[in-house]
Amino acid sequence: MQLSRDQLVQAYRRMATIRAFEERLHEEIAKGEIAGFTHLYCGQEAVAVGVCEHLTDDDFIVSTHRGHGHCLAKGVDVKGMMQEIYGRSTGLCKGKGGSMHIADVDKGMLGANGIVGAGAPQAVGAALAAKMDGKGKVAIAFSGDGACNQGTTFEAMNMAVVTKAPCIFVFENNHYSEHTGPDYATATATDIAGRAEAFGMKAWRANGCDFFDSYDTMRELLDYVRAGNGPAAIEFDTERFYGHFEGDPQRYRGDGEIDRLRAERDCLVAFRRKVTEAKLLEHGDLDAVDEEALALIEAAVQEARAAPLPTAEMVLEDVYISY
């Protein structure tokens, strides 16, 4: 199915916004402006956007420690996220969660997660809730090649099949589980989707550095799941442009690896090439979107810097609803 001009611009805007958000965080973290652990999503934008462009606020996603891209793709507020990462009281989570715990339940974004593999069972639960409602909603568990080795992921896949939950297991294989390669850590390094198939699920595979392949494959998968066929899985072959966390010296990378990935596997570059060669959009259209994204992030950073800091009394707020 051909995407309309508006849909193309929208998809590119989401990817460009994620890229600008993450590149800016990379700069600000290096300056010491932001506290804590931050895991950047640069390089994987085509996955989050290729998945989430098919979803509405009524569909659920459960994310990971590398969650900014999933949040932005699901429509979570850019400025609220930036203020959260800056640890401000006006942040999306009032400075209680930070980078690893951004959530916006109203948008169907049930939370990034600091525990690798913890989200998959939660997505099954959201899918069971969706099944109770019977309105064709789905729940998506984003996992990496690291999380695919957690028992929770296996439990979740089995339970989703057994309960016919409309749950989708999205495996983003960026070839690094933290600082370790899948050839060492993952028994089926070249085939994570096959694990889902072993649980009796239909699984797809797609190029996670190509928005169009991601998007089109996800449409096919979602049609299958929304039709009531139970869970499904997809493995995206994708790339991580930065380290596991900001500050990671990345001594595990090969010579020139990052330059090569940026030159050959950049999903924004690939998108631009495809749409301009096919004369669907002009370079100028995309440049304008890039500039808007940068301006939005600039405004988000300025507002986050100026936003109020939380105060000590807030420590005890929101532990319980009533106690």
């Binding site: 659920f60 459960v62 959260e84 942040g91 999306l92 989570c93 009032k94 400075g95 209680k96 969660g97 715990h101 959530a103 916006d104 339940v105 109203d106 049930l110 939370g111 997660n113 600091g114 525990i115 913890a118 998959a120 069972p121 939660q122 997505a123 099954v124 639960g125 959201a126 899918a127 069971l128 809730a129 969706a130 099944k131 109770m132 729940a139 028992g151 929770t152 439990e155 979740a156 089995n158 339970m159 057994v162 309960t163 707020e317 929101d318 532990v319 319980y320 609803i321 009533s322 106690y323």
Partner: protein, 336 residues
């Protein structure tokens, strides 16, 4: 009022609440029982008989018989709660909490806080706990103390069928996550259970016996042990002010401190091991806030710092008993 066993009170409460609120669902291992067998669904009806007939009435979308996957049970309860449902999850044995601790401790307990108060996670986790059945170290523990220490969770321990109804109703309706501990040995005990809507708010201890010489603070299964001790002591003219905490989180500090202010002597009875226990926690509270009233050091009657042993002789030596409580009361009284 009707006479009911605690297990009946629990099943009836779940059924009534599920009829009242269509967002309630239940998940657990063998809560239907017999799925995928020649016997068929409901061949078992839940190994504790606390879910018998629910599958037939509410169907597979709301009564979810799960594989043996505790992390997936609790994790999916968490996800369903974030997605707007009100799940009841059963851990067939409270000891299995170790298998799914991340989902309880890092996930359910922290969602609302991490998400800046913009979510709720109204999960009730029912945990079947306690010693006395020769079930050995991995099927007998009283793990409520450990969980009481975790911010974000509420911990509930009914001691009677009536309290099981009132406290479970509150647990299910509560918008915070609740751990509801059901003692195996209490399932079969009978008591009067109020008809109709019956809710007991959390954080209010129950005065089981009123007395003036010694305060006894306890919870769960140990309430009946302490009752036995108090009744025996009453025959000697020693009166005990016996408090059943009902919930260890939140803790009814006021009731504890008021009683200790009056008696000046206190015995803490707890089925969990002594270190970082409800007993030691309440003893610290009293030392901090009622020091001047104390006429004797707080006495702790707890399980020992050991796993729960299997053999009958060993297990009965392990479990706090009425004679041990009586000894502790005498020690508290003897102190000058």
């Amino acid at each position: 009022m009707a006479q009911k066993m605690m297990r009946e009170a629990i099943l009836d409460t779940i059924r009534e609440e599920m009829r009242r609120d269509p967002t309630i669902m239940m998940l657990g291992e063998d809560i239907v029982g017999g799925m995928g067998t020649a016997g068929g669904p409901e061949a078992i009806g839940g190994i504790w008989s606390t879910s018998t007939g629910l599958y037939e009435e509410f169907g597979p979308n709301r009564i979810i018989d799960t594989p043996i996957s505790e992390s997936a049970i609790i994790g999916s309860a968490a996800g369903a709660a974030l997605a707007g449902k009100r799940p009841i999850a059963e851990l067939m044995f409270a000891d299995f909490v170790g298998v799914c601790m991340d989902q309880i401790w890092n996930q359910i307990a922290k969602f609302r806080y991490m998400f800046g108060g913009k979510s709720k996670c109204p999960v009730t986790i029912r945990l079947v706990y306690g010693a006395g059945f020769n079930a050995a170290p991995q099927h007998s523990q009283a793990v409520y103390s450990m969980l009481t220490s975790m911010p974000g969770l509420k911990v509930v321990l009914p001691a009677t069928p009536a309290d099981a109804k009132g406290l479970l109703t509150q647990s299910i309706r509560d918008d915070d996550p609740v751990l509801f501990f059901e003692h195996k040995a209490l399932y079969g005990i009978k008591g009067e259970v109020p008809d109709g809507d019956y809710v007991i708010p959390f954080g209010h201890a129950r005065q089981v016996r009123s007395g003036e010489h010694v305060t006894i603070v306890t919870c769960g299964m140990m309430v009946s042990v302490a009752e036995k001790a108090a009744d025996q002591l009453a025959q000697e003219g020693i009166s005990c002010d016996l408090l059943d905490l009902r919930t260890t989180s939140p803790l009814d500090e006021e009731a504890i401190l008021d009683s200790v202010e009056m008696t000046g002597r206190v015995v803490l009875v707890d089925e969990s091991p002594p270190r970082c226990s409800v007993a030691s926690d309440v003893a610290a509270l009293i030392a901090n806030k009622a020091f001047a009233a104390l006429k004797a050091p707080p006495q702790m009657v707890t399980a020992p710092h050991s796993p729960v042993p299997f053999a009958r002789e060993l297990e009965s030596a392990y479990i706090p008993s009425a004679p041990k409580v009586i000894d502790a009361v005498r020690k508290a009284l003897a102190y000058r």
